[in-house]
Symmetry: D2
Subunit: 360 residues, 4 copies
């Protein structure tokens, strides 16, 4: 079948006919999302990337919507599904519990990234256990459920971490809690929407003025935008946020200023893959972490329950934030035309939220 | 009454007759512990220290054992008690729930430190609500319940934070989890004992060979000692620990090497007050925090339930680790003789775990 | 203003012009739902019902959608809102935390039921703190958010209770868990939908064949219907369910057969107000509760966070289950025509899910 | 080796030389506790009892202290240990997590009860994974750690269940919570001690005046005794308890009066094996369960972490409640003399807390 393949650690990708041995029910791929990790692999920047055992290549792609071609498990021919992308090591307790996001051995595999063929190809075969139902209502935006699943997991984890104190408000909600999301890529936007839909007062920032479609999103959803090109001090109150999520993967030197924006008992969630730089934390910065009971937590990788939550949220958002939901998909490129978009697999365009490749 | 008083931000202390206006039942102070925070105040190093409103001085001391002088609440004349040292702001939800360790306003007061008279004096008057019963069996070591309460709270918080994953072992215990405690002061020793008694495999480190009494403690309790004067690399496996607790208050530059010792899903607990230096975290260090789902958490201040747990543990430890329990109290100095110990209130001696002042 | 009022413990109701003294922002009532509790009050069956202090009457109604008439809090003129119906005692900790569902004193008030005027009237004045935003997308079904809020809270409570063990499945979801809901009134239907949308395998039962609109609901949502008129034994495996929710308020004699249907570690959630009868539990029935680690839990009353969750779910369900969502509202009766429906306020018609009264 | 064996479902027991095939490190049994379950098996009353596959007999006994005869795991020759008595099914998730108390398949085995040889014999061979270290300080009372482990688990479970609300007090402790324990057998006494040591206000009841040794226990520990021979109404306030634990295994007809003693949000924990009778719950009793948000929960069987907690508590109790701790062991009978105590294996004497059999 036709597939987009890579040969890490080599740079580049090919569209090629390949043979892949798999078991499970047959699923025709309808579309894939392109994500920053895909581009890092194509650019030869992701050292962790490696092909599955016995193969000299790896099919790329971990975001896919497919159509079930034969009955299997609870699925029927014609059902829309999304495969989950990380699979457990089979050894540690967290993987036995369906939670390879907390794999202890590091021997998990991940579709299109590490030791498992990805989903950028005509067909896959997979076990129903790894398939998530896609509501037809969100056929167009469901591809966002993969990145959103990571954030559903992240927010669930943040709530767990904050179980250390009483973190709700006087009315039992999170309406009194202020969150700052750094970055306006797919992750930054989706995390902002998720926090907003759970009641947080949300500010999102980037080091530039917002693009036009971003402005529409923030107006529709009631999210505040902040241009941080001159730092964060003009945000006002230094101890301003109960939660900051780093979703930009920017230079590491940003860290001390983020820490200084945290309230007592706050959380700094680290999601982005910081590409460069260093963070210099003075001893007084670290004292502050202690005195203010701050928690810093690394956030990765949603599993099946988080994909399901993501689907529910995408349906909800489509109807309460229709303009925003439409804006999430920047463009859809037929597989036969990807050669007409040089750089497509190498670099995010500045105005892009999500680019999809369609196979049908 | 006689009291040891300070006048922050001035350096120094005085033993002086003072008048303090208080309400509650009368408690005769039997003994106080001297702690690093007391010494920072005496040395003029703790900028947060301030006398209670309406007073030009503050009685020092937040570790005290007293004898109840009149019936009150559930207490009877003659009962041994320890007063809790932090009192809530009366405004935020966590303080209303008896948990000023998670005060959100920062307006809590703290005996002998911030806005409230401490316990180094002949008598205090206090509400039964803030008194913790001391089992007579541990009359001699109960002073350790104050610092230990901070660690009971810290471990409770670490367990909450780790509620984000399945952190127990295949036998339902924590016996498969490895912990490293940095520092062998009162906090480092007590945290090691606490973790050991909860089943962890514990290593404790300092930048020197262990003192003789430390060696006896580690032998009796089955704790491993590590001399980190040449760094941590000889500890072996780089990804070695599920939990590291910084309890030394050492130079901040230690941070990157601690992070590099953490396993997937591990916790770095920050307890010590880092006195100097900076930590330089490269972007790859921060990437590791993310990929390994690590959590860094600031740890402070136990409340009444943690004092109660500390009393329970001190009783238990006295009998399963008698030699260790005896070693916790380095010396007891009668209040009338403290002038014979110059520097007593300024500096920990290297072999000291806890020095007490006795009033009777 | 015009209002539907009651004078408990007297039977009956009146549509009458009344004066009610209230504070807050003005809200024009658009519609009310009629619920079983309203009918019990009208029928003089709810002994707990009582008028607010200083009034000889009480406005009925605890389910309402209104339109904000003036800016206030985060709300703007024209916003659609639903007021929460229970308000705390102001004394116990759970009420201070916004959770009067767990009021310890029993001194909470409840709109239209106990000590507080209800919402069946032209206007109310209320604090923004007690208002929940209604997404315009669900203008027609949002009235269901009040009963659904009770179930959001109930399911949250069930998950808390099951925190005693590992209750998720091998894929991290609840897909392997079987739930049985007794009753097909508004509560039974909504609870079934909620459990289904969280991944449970759901069976719902009543002592008759399903009505036509019920059949359509169960087909669309994948819920199984069971006619229990001959008991539950034909359900097959005696130890069949991980969760049973009693939502019928049927005769208490049903209890032993429900207990016999529970698996190890299962939960029996009691929501319905059992109108008659007795349950005879043999000592062996109670032994089974013990050996099987079963939990029985009383379920009541959602608060603001649960209303918000209910709104999110109603939006989602409207689009994944459009037919079902349409069926939830059985009929809408203009306030001026309620006299044309004798018995409306006394008795549920057998085919009714929810009847609304509209004020505009 | 010599062993006490049974042949369920037959009545009776024998002291006999037997051969048992086992793997693991060798442990010499020092003593066994006799418990109600042992007597039910001997009396032919426990229908669930069955011998291990391939054997016509089963060694009795699930409470044992032994001495390790050879190094293994973390244990050294000479260490005192207690083996855990329930072992998982190897299939369900809870058993994989070391928690066969929540076994879902029911295929667990239990020493001396169901499918596994018990510990009333000269030697056992067992895996270090199932051994719990016994502090020499409690050599005499450690046998109580097995029944106490069940209660450690039960209280942990009760705290989990109550995670549904805020159940702590204004000072962060459980000091404002009132508990009632029904029964003064080993379980009733131990549960009372456990609750008391966690800060609860504890009342314990039986249908007679307290025995002399019971009076001493209650005086030393500050537990209140109540003679319930005339029912519970004279306990005063009908809504009196936050927690009731049924630990008497009395007639099931007691249930309605216990329910009537529960406060809002309270828990009824069922531990005892109700031997007779029926409970008649009126519909209004069940309505009360709902309105008061009551939870009823079946409590069984501690695992390794609970044995460890039990050991810690027994050490603590020995020193804060020395008289009480001494009273826990009613008598110790050498294995060679058990024939001199007819009825020993059939019936608890009324004044008995725990009878031990010693093998050395």
């Amino acid at each position: 079948m036709k597939a987009i393949i890579v040969r890490p650690p080599e740079k580049g990708f090919e569209k090629k006919d390949v043979q892949i041995q798999e078991e499970g029910i047959k699923i025709r791929i309808l579309e894939n999302g392109i994500c920053g990790t895909d581009r890092e692999i194509v650019n030869g920047q992701l050292f962790a990337a490696n092909a599955p055992g016995g193969y000299s290549f790896m099919a790329l792609g971990h975001e896919a919507i497919g159509e079930v071609m034969e009955d299997g498990g609870d699925f029927r021919k014609g059902d829309l599904v999304m495969p989950v992308n990380r699979r457990g090591c089979g050894k540690c307790l967290n993987c036995l519990l369906g939670r390879p996001d907390f794999c202890e051995t590091g021997e998990f595999v991940e579709a299109g990234i590490k030791g498992m063929h990805g989903f950028m190809r005509e067909y896959i075969y997979d076990s129903p256990e790894f398939l998530v139902r896609v509501p037809p209502d969100i056929r167009n935006t469901a591809i966002m459920a993969q990145p959103l699943s990571d954030l559903e997991k992240s927010l669930e984890e943040i709530f767990s971490v904050q179980g250390r104190l009483y973190w709700k408000c006087r009315d039992g909600t999170y309406g009194c809690r202020r969150a700052l999301v750094i970055g306006t890529g797919a992750i930054g936007i989706l995390f902002s929407l998720l926090l907003k839909s759970r009641g947080f007062d949300v500010t999102v920032s980037n080091i530039r003025d917002p693009a036009e479609h971003e402005t529409r999103i923030f107006e529709e959803t009631g999210i505040t935008y902040f241009n941080s090109s001159n730092g964060y001090s003009s945000l006002g109150n230094k101890d301003a946020f109960d939660l900051i999520v780093e979703a930009s993967g920017s230079d590491a030197s940003i860290l001390p200023s983020l820490l200084s924006l945290l309230k007592n008992n706050a959380v700094l969630g680290l999601f982005g893959f910081m590409r460069s730089g260093s963070a210099v934390l003075k001893n007084t910065d670290i004292q502050n972490l202690v005195y203010k009971s701050i928690s810093v937590v690394g956030l990765i990788n949603g599993q099946k329950p988080h994909f399901e939550a993501a689907m529910r949220n995408l349906v909800q958002w489509k109807h309460i934030w229709p303009e925003t939901s439409r804006s999430l998909i920047t463009r859809t490129i037929p597989i036969d035309k990807i050669d007409e978009f040089p750089g497509l697999m190498n670099k995010k365009t500045s105005w892009e939220i999500k680019t999809k490749i369609s196979w049908v």
